[in-house]
Symmetry: C2
DNA sequence: ATTATCTATAGATCTATAGATAATGC
DNA sequence: ATTATCTATAGATCTATAGATAATGC
């Protein structure tokens, strides 16, 4: 039976142990993510992480062997989400009828929305990659997969591109947009730079720049 | 008397104490810079820094009160160099006869050369800014000063710029180039991105992109 | 006499464990 | 009976100091 909207958020029964366990683990990962992003991995102690997750140091060690294993678990969670999202997003059928500019604009918009939603995620992942070479190479592979996926979509539309070397132009543009998006999230405080302007204006100027460089049509929504 | 070129590198006399002191301090700063950049501030112990500088922990504490004071000293050194360089580079007389594209190309080339020469400096400074709010705001001021200086040079040549909003275009372009340069230094390993291409090709494509967006002339050297 | 360095170590901090208690599952 | 959590703490690591030694300056 479907519960009424009034009741749907209430829980009369106690949670099972598995739920409890999952929740603690997730809370520990969330806290680790935030603290790693803010203070670096070395700057976040296990006591900090446990306290932020609302549990004890003992509980921490019940779920994770040590700090390193949290690092790997955190990356695992990130990698799974990242792959799943990209698999859906890069499906060729999804983009039937789309032009080069539409795909690039979507890339910008989706990345902005993602990073706004989870502001610590990007920085925490950077920290993980720096601390663990294994994670670093995994992360490079993940990003390369996304780049290749978008490249495929764009190169399939190479006839639209007026730039004399479409492959080079695609590589350059993905690097350019990726760099700007990263800076926009990591350094929002620079008074003289574009971080002060709203996301919409950023997307607009970025598309103008990209379209002028590649010599493609400006997407309709801009 | 000018010493012969054979002798100019030899030192028969012992260094004075002040030289010795200065050298140890500089070596400690250099080591701290490198280790902060590689492992983060929390990941670099005082023992690590001292060992890398070729001195003891005791010597460290003779020169610096604690880790924090090295952080400030390191930033101080960076800030001084940065300001001095920019004061010279941003002199309006220096750029007489230069066009917008010339100035932007010089910005790209000088930044590349600087970062190649001191690969750890940028990352270490990022770490310092994150650890100390005081350093962070100082750093923002320094960068803002450079941005404003370049902006002034470019806006003084606004007649060359075809973009409908020259001020906006200048802000956007400085953000764009700055972002790409930063990514180029910090993430050189991405196989699908432009880091794989040589600096000359990067500068070329960056200038093509910027000139197409701003609607200015491509500088002669590109 | 002063400055720079070293070795050795006390004290602080952090990690990781042991042993006890509380919550669920059968 | 099993799983999840807690408190208390041993052991490891790091910071920062004390006291001794070596190098320069007068």
């Amino acid at each position: 039976m479907k519960r009424s909207k009034w009741a749907s958020d209430l829980h009369w029964v106690r949670e099972g142990q598995q739920d409890r366990s999952r929740k603690t683990q997730a809370a520990l990962l969330d806290s680790a993510e935030e603290l790693f992003a803010e203070h670096g991995i070395g700057g976040a102690t296990i006591a900090d992480i446990s306290a932020a997750a609302g549990c004890s140091i003992g509980a921490f060690y019940h779920h994770y062997q040590d700090k390193r294993s949290v690092q790997f678990a955190l990356f695992e969670r990130y990698a799974t989400e990242y792959e799943d999202t990209n698999r859906i997003a890069l499906d060729h059928e999804r983009w039937e009828g789309a032009q080069v500019g539409d795909i690039l604009l979507a890339y910008v918009q989706v990345t902005l929305a993602n990073d706004r939603g989870f502001p610590a995620r990007r920085q925490a992942t950077v920290e993980l990659a720096r601390a663990e070479p294994e994670i670093n190479s995994q992360l490079i592979k993940l990003k390369a997969m996304l780049d290749l996926g978008i490249s495929d979509l764009l190169i399939a539309r190479r006839d639209e591109i007026g730039h004399p070397d479409p492959e080079l132009a695609v590589t350059f543009v993905l690097d350019q947009l990726g760099s700007m998006l990263r800076t926009r999230m990591q350094e929002p405080d620079m008074p003289t730079r574009f971080g002060q302007h709203p996301d919409e204006d950023f997307a607009h100027e970025a598309m103008c720049s990209v379209c002028a460089y590649m010599q493609i049509e400006l997407p309709a929504e801009v």
